[in-house]
Symmetry: C2
Subunit: 222 residues, 2 copies
């Protein structure tokens, strides 16, 4: 795609090698559909990916997410049967079920206590944020669900870029039976499986990055 490459070259600002490499990595990301079925990740590598994913932001620092790392052949096959039989579910080294949890303002004091303990957050902040969050979420099931999807997706996108930085491919998927996944992998009623994310070493034959809509179609200035 010479046009895209040219655009990228023009848009990447001159800066430090670090800045340049991170911008280039974001600019170059593409979805992996073909994984090396012999690829493997250790549990420590999976923990590293999720550690980085949880550095994503969440509203009120709710951290209302749950990552289920499906990485044994048996469990991957079971998940694949609930996900349109997509080969990448089993070919990837690990396929995450990424859940957001229905937003619950009552969890906020416990989630913020370490920030108070660390000394930078005034002690009255958690109850104030709990009240603000309650005014948004309490008896508002659509907003609770929106928050679950947002949180899961913030974590998923961060995991995707962390995987790329570790030399791994990734593929987000929404083609799966959410009820079957919830039942088959023991999710609670408040765990919303927002997407699956296959991660692992890529096979060589993947498509290039798909062209994007012109910027003028998606960006307005006010």
């Amino acid at each position: 795609m010479p046009f895209m490459a040219c655009l990228a070259a023009r848009l990447i600002q001159k800066g430090s090698p670090m800045t340049h490499s991170m911008l280039a990595a974001i600019d170059d990301r593409r979805t992996t559909n073909m994984f090396d079925p012999a690829g493997h990740l250790t549990d420590a590598e999976i923990e590293k990916l999720v550690h980085l994913a949880t550095k994503a932001p969440t509203s009120f620092n709710l951290q209302n997410w749950r990552f289920i790392a499906v990485r044994t052949p048996e469990a991957k096959a079971r998940l694949r049967s609930m996900a349109w039989d997509q080969a990448k579910v089993t070919d990837a080294a690990v396929t995450f079920i990424i859940c957001g949890q229905l937003a619950d303002h009552r969890t906020i004091p416990a989630r913020l206590a370490p920030s108070v303990d660390a000394g930078f957050m005034p002690a009255e902040v958690p109850s104030g944020w709990e009240g603000a969050a309650g005014s948004l979420y309490d008896n508002q099931p659509q907003r609770q669900r929106d928050e679950a999807i947002r949180t899961a997706t913030f974590g998923a996108m961060t995991l995707i870029l962390a995987a790329q930085a570790m030399g791994l491919g990734s593929a987000p998927m929404i083609g799966f039976d959410a009820d079957a996944v919830a039942q088959g992998f023991g999710l609670s009623e408040t765990d919303i499986p927002a997407l699956l994310l296959a991660v692992g070493p890529a096979a060589p034959e993947n498509w290039p990055q798909k062209p994007r809509r012109p910027l003028s179609d998606v960006l307005d200035f006010v």
Copy 2:
């Protein structure tokens, strides 16, 4: 936070300087609440941020997003009045209204035509994906909305990390009146304002990164 720093140092794998810097950037990200009110971004810099945001993945390459860059003092003040009077809306150089659009499978052929034209996507793929997407979204308003939230959040997270790579702070916000924003900024009925995102040079006095839940609370292996 010596514990977190220690954990980060332990988890960051040895690798190339590029790999290391990108992982460290993800690990170090924190939300900016205090912006330098004198900070400014050019429209070209804003375009660069959104260009990078659109490199995020979307289901079926739907690209069902819309970025409204609110950057004039008048428009920022108007948006602030709809967003709990949060100072960061006006102090930041730009505050984006990031919308996802209700998923519509009929848009897929046009969104994939450039991939067919580029020669890597077989010509029969777009109609196949349109059918698969139709089976998910058609007459399924909750799924259409979930997809809007997912798409907007994928783009927002990518924009957050792009901003960080450009040396800018950012703050996602959900405390706003969605109906007022839709009416005041001319959104269509299919544009769902999923979040606001303030971006700009940070003031010096921001909080450090807030501590995260223990990994064992959010990660399960299967």
